[in-house]
Point group: C2
Chain length 254, copies 2
C-alpha cells in the first residue's frame, strides 16, 4: 500500500518509470526474493490518479535458477498496471559484450536541459541531450519530421546512488519517439506507453560502482502504424558496460 | 484445454514459439477480444511435458482503445508459462517506418538448411541462412566465437498463410545467440528462453497479403552476463514492411 508522489507527475498521472519502479521495489524488498532481477514487463492499463494504491504480488513459479513474479497495481478497485518480473540466482558465467558504447563527449561538455515549469517528472531527472531531444513548441506546417533517435546523458535529480529500482525507472526516461519527431501540438495529441520491457544486465556490484554518475542513454523507434509505435533503448554505465536494454510500445490517438 | 504437439519439440519440451502461439490463439479466438494484438510477453516458467495442459485467460482491464489480457498455461497443477497480451482497436493513423529492410538476395538464391533428424521443431519451419547460422558441431578448443548476428529467410513448413498466431511463433525461431556463437558442446550446456516480448506492427490485412511467402528475419544479441543474455529480432514482410519486432532474455547454465 502506498500513495502517489507528485514529483513524478506527467500529463495524466505519474510517468511510467515511476510505476515500473514501484513494482520493482515491491519485489526486491520482498523477503521471498531469490536474487537480482533479470527482466521486467509493465503493462500500463490506465492512468493512476493522485492518492492511495495497492500492489499485489504473486510467485506463480519459482525454482533454484529463476523466480517468476506477477504483480498488479490496483487503485479504487481497478487494475492500473500489471507487471511480470523474473529474478534469478545469478552467478559468474561466460561473459561477453557484443556492442560498444557510442563515442560521445563527456557530460560536462553537454548542456543540461532546463526543465523549470514543465511537467513535474522532468525535474526529477537531469537530461543532457547529445543527439535528438524534445520539441516543446508545435512543429510548423510542412516542417520535416524530427529525428527518431536520441542520445543523452541522464541521472536522477537530486542525485542518488544507482540501484535496480532507480534503473527500472530510468529505462522509461526517454521522451516518446512520436513526440520528438512530430513536435508538440496544440492541443496535445494523447499518447502514452502501453507496455514496457526492460532487461537488467548489470548485477548489484556493477550498479553500485556506477554511484550517482549519469548514464548514457540511447533510444530509437522502428515503425509507427495503426495507433502504436515501438521504441527501444540502451542504458550504458560509465565504464562502457551495457547496464540495461529494453523496448516499449506507445499508443497514440492519431 | 489442449495437448502438446510433437512436431514442435525442442530439447526438453515444445520450443518457446509454440507456447507463445498457444497463448496468442487463446486470446484472438476468444469472443471478448477487442481487436488485433499489439504486444505479447511470455514468461517461460518451466518446460512443458508431453500431454494435456490448460490455458486460463483474464482481462484485468479493458477500454475502448486497449485491452489487457493475463494468461497462464498450467500443466499438472503447475504454472508452465505466464503471458500478457495487449489488444487494441487499431485504426489508420500517422504511419512511418524509420528503418529499411536489409538488402538481401532473393530466397531462391539462398540454400535451405537441411534439418532432417535433428530437433523436431526445426522440421516445422524452413530456414535459409544468409548471415550467421547454427553450428551443430562442437566448437574446437581456442576457436573464436561465431557471429552474434543472424539474417535468414524463414517460413512455416508445411507452408501456411501468415496470421498473428503463426507470427507470434516465428518470433522465437531464431537460434539462441549463445549457441550460435559458442557452437554446440558435448554435453550440451543447458540454456533456454526465460522471457520473450513481441510487438506486432502489421494488422490482419498486411499479414494476409504476406500469404505463405517466407519472412526475412534478423536477430542479434548485446550482452551476455551472469547466466543471461538478451536477443532482439525483426521480422520483415515481402514488401519491406516491418511486421514485428521483439526481444528475449535467455538463461544459460555456464
Amino acid at each position: 500500500v502506498g500513495a502517489t508522489a507528485d514529483a513524478y507527475w506527467n500529463f495524466a498521472g505519474p510517468f511510467g518509470g515511476y510505476v515500473a519502479a514501484l513494482c520493482m521495489k515491491a519485489v526486491v524488498t520482498d523477503v521471498r526474493v531469490l536474487g537480482p532481477p533479470v527482466a521486467q514487463t509493465v503493462n500500463y492499463c490506465g492512468a493512476l490518479a493522485k492518492g492511495p494504491f495497492e500492489i499485489t504480488t504473486r510467485i506463480p513459479r519459482g525454482g533454484k535458477a529463476t523466480q517468476h513474479w506477477s504483480i498488479e497495481l490496483i487503485q479504487d478497485g481497478q487494475v492500473a498496471a500489471t507487471a511480470t518480473i523474473v529474478c534469478a540466482n545469478r552467478r559468474e558465467t561466460f561473459a561477453h559484450q557484443a556492442v560498444a558504447m557510442p563515442s560521445v563527449p563527456p557530460v560536462d561538455a553537454v548542456p543540461r536541459m532546463k526543465s523549470d515549469g514543465r511537467l513535474p517528472w522532468l525535474s526529477s531527472y537531469r537530461f543532457h541531450f547529445i543527439e535528438g531531444g524534445p520539441r516543446f513548441t508545435p512543429a510548423g506546417e510542412g516542417e520535416p519530421l524530427g529525428p527518431s533517435k536520441t542520445v543523452m546523458y541522464l541521472a536522477d535529480h537530486p542525485a542518488r546512488p544507482l540501484d535496480v529500482v532507480a534503473l527500472s525507472s530510468l529505462a522509461d526516461c526517454f521522451i516518446l519517439r512520436l513526440l520528438q519527431m512530430r513536435g508538440a501540438s496544440v492541443p496535445m495529441i494523447p499518447m502514452s506507453t502501453v507496455s514496457m520491457t526492460t532487461y537488467f544486465h548489470a548485477g548489484p556490484e556493477e550498479l553500485a560502482a556506477q554511484g550517482d554518475a549519469p548514464l548514457l542513454g540511447v533510444a530509437d523507434g522502428k515503425r509507427f502504424s495503426a495507433n502504436f509505435h515501438d521504441q527501444h533503448m540502451d542504458l550504458w554505465g560509465r565504464d562502457g558496460g551495457l547496464l540495461a536494454t529494453g523496448i516499449q510500445t506507445v499508443w497514440y490517438k492519431a
